[in-house]
Amino acid sequence: MRLIKIKGHENWMIFIGSLVLFVIVFLTLLYSIISPYDPTKSSVNIKGETIFIKPLLPPLSKIEVEVNGSKHELFFLFGTDQVGRDVFTRVIAGSSFVLSVAILATLLSLSIGLPLGLLSGYVGRIYDRALSLVMDSIYAFPGLILAIAVAALLGIGLVNMIVAIAVVYIPSYFRIVRGQVLSLKEQPFIEAAIALGMPKTNILFKQIMPNVFPSLFVITTLNIADAIIIEAALSFLGLGISPPTPDWGLDISQGKRYFLAGAWWVGIFPAMMISLAVLGFSLIGEGFDEKLNPKIRTK
């Protein structure tokens, strides 16, 4: 039964990306219902008794425990990590942290880059040249290094991570917005608005800004994807959040030794989540980008 008709490869991209993200978010919101385990604890509470879980159990392990005479079965879909925490729960719970950091950082970036880009593009002249030169230089600088520098300075913590990552994307927003403003500035409808005596702020916010939104959306999704990677890298290097908060990069870093010793599930699943989240956002972003600027014209 064909419920939805999706034609065109860019629509498929948007669909699959959204689907992936939807599943991730869905699982994240419901993990407390789906899973009986606490992602930060290596024990589980059954009928008042605290049962400790064995570390490094492979995926699909089933353990039988006896509590007050009754038998219970504990199931670990993705196995347990080196401390005894259920990997599945941890990986699912991690998404809330990682995704919030990535999204908040990108939004913070947007809130700084957008107005700067709008103003700079619109005002022009020496201010624009100077600011553009600065932004281009930051843009050329490796994002991760910049984030590392800021994070090293600010220290570990949720807010600090968000700020560190936000700094990286300000130039990209600036450039996109400024570019759009520059090309829109010359358009006849802007001239018409000026001729009609509309105040500059009105033109800037009511005429130009809405036209910038489509590209902004594309860049935002792609930046979020990128931010997830930087977040993972920062926590892998120990500059992110401290344990026991569930975080994919952190889990890979802490499980490194055991992964290499053969406990592949400790590393694969967090890495898989990173990939899926990144792919989700990338597909949506690239899909919309294809829609707006079809790159390969078949005509």
């Binding site: 230089s137 600088f141 490796p142 290097l237 890979i252 992964f259 590393g267 890495a271 390969i296």
Partner: protein
């Protein structure tokens, strides 16, 4: 404008760029809220010790004085001294820079080989399955965190199959030997000069895996870009015109498709340099490759302010340098943009 005058103009433009980059590093490390000394040294060190550290690092002076001495020091080649051993930071950097250069070049080679050939062949077979696979490859490779890719390949190729060593640049014994006989600290050059092909082989053996990892990571972006650019060029009219003259398909793919696509690809190579440096930090850390990437990480772990600042300053210089090289190469390939 001829190539020569373009080069000169471009060289002159590098100066403001370097200044801006150095200023950015300064702003991040000193001006932003947050006290670097507290952050790096830790909160439970007594205040007098922290104050003394600040004095040592000159962090108590007014900002413009700090900025001036910062710039002057850098251009004199003085990046301060490490907190622990009082060894000049510059020494550390010079020592470790060659290793990162080796890794960078080898990774780029891998990335280019994989990226450009996969990308252009996929573009050539545009409407066949290969093209779609190639496009997806780019996206997937980008989404896998490079440090995990490193761990994965270490597990498969080093630990399970035992083909490659798991880390470092040379086997320990050879490393000790090498440190006594080194000339330029570039193993490729040194081993040939000294006629020590055992060191050369050992180095290649160690270099392969980390550069493969970093190369794969970078290739994703190259594959996608090459594919898009070559495909777009192959649809252009002058390609039809060339075909109408009976030019062979192979020439069309390489001389027309690829050559005209090289222009944005070269630009991307320059932009990729930033990704290369970022990736190098992670790859060097995972493989214990002794370059400046792992130096950044180690200096943060060691809470050594000058070392952190010094390695980031070096990154700034590298970025400006590569940006210069890319622009000049670009002008060489496409005669149109020499103004």
């Amino acid at each position: 404008m001829s190539l020569k005058s373009y080069i000169i103009t471009r060289l002159l433009l590098t100066i403001p760029m370097v200044f801006i980059l150095l200023s950015i590093v300064f702003v991040v490390l000193r001006v932003l809220p947050g006290d670097p000394v507290t952050m790096l040294e830790g909160k439970d060190i007594p205040e007098e010790v922290l104050q003394r550290r600040r004095e040592e690092l000159g962090l108590n002076k007014p900002i413009h004085e700090q900025y001036l001495s910062y710039l002057i020091n850098i251009f004199q080649g003085n990046l301060g001294e490490t907190a622990l051993t009082k060894v000049p930071v510059t020494y550390f950097i010079i020592q470790r820079l060659p290793a990162t250069v080796e890794l960078a070049i080898m990774s780029m080679i891998f990335a280019v080989i994989i990226g450009i050939f996969l990308g252009s062949y996929g573009a050539y077979k545009f409407h066949r399955p290969l093209s779609y696979i190639v496009r997806i490859y780019g996206m997937i490779v980008y989404s896998i965190p490079v440090f995990f890719l490193g761990l994965l390949l270490i597990y498969i190729l080093s630990i399970s199959l035992g083909i490659f060593p798991t880390s470092l640049r040379l086997s320990p014994l050879l490393e000790i030997e090498y440190s006594t006989i080194r000339v330029t600290n570039f193993i490729l050059i040194d081993s040939i000069i000294l006629n020590r092909y055992d060191i050369l082989y050992d180095w290649l053996h160690h270099l392969f895996l980390p550069s493969l990892v970093l190369g794969i990571y970078l290739s994703g972006i190259f594959v996608r870009l090459t594919h898009a650019q070559v495909a777009e060029t192959l649809f252009k009219d002058f390609v039809t015109a060339a075909r109408a003259r009976g030019i062979t398909e192979r020439r069309i793919l390489y001389k027309y498709g690829l050559r005209n696509a090289l222009i944005p690809i070269v630009t991307m190579m320059g932009l990729q340099f930033a990704a290369l440096l970022s990736g190098a930090v992670l790859t060097e850390t995972v493989f214990n490759w002794p370059g400046i990437g792992s130096l950044v990480y180690e200096s943060i772990l060691a809470r050594d302010y000058n070392l952190v600042q010094g390695s980031i300053v070096i990154y700034a210089f590298l970025v400006a340098l590569v940006s210069l090289i890319v622009d000049i190469t670009y002008a060489y390939i496409d005669p149109r943009i020499r103004y």
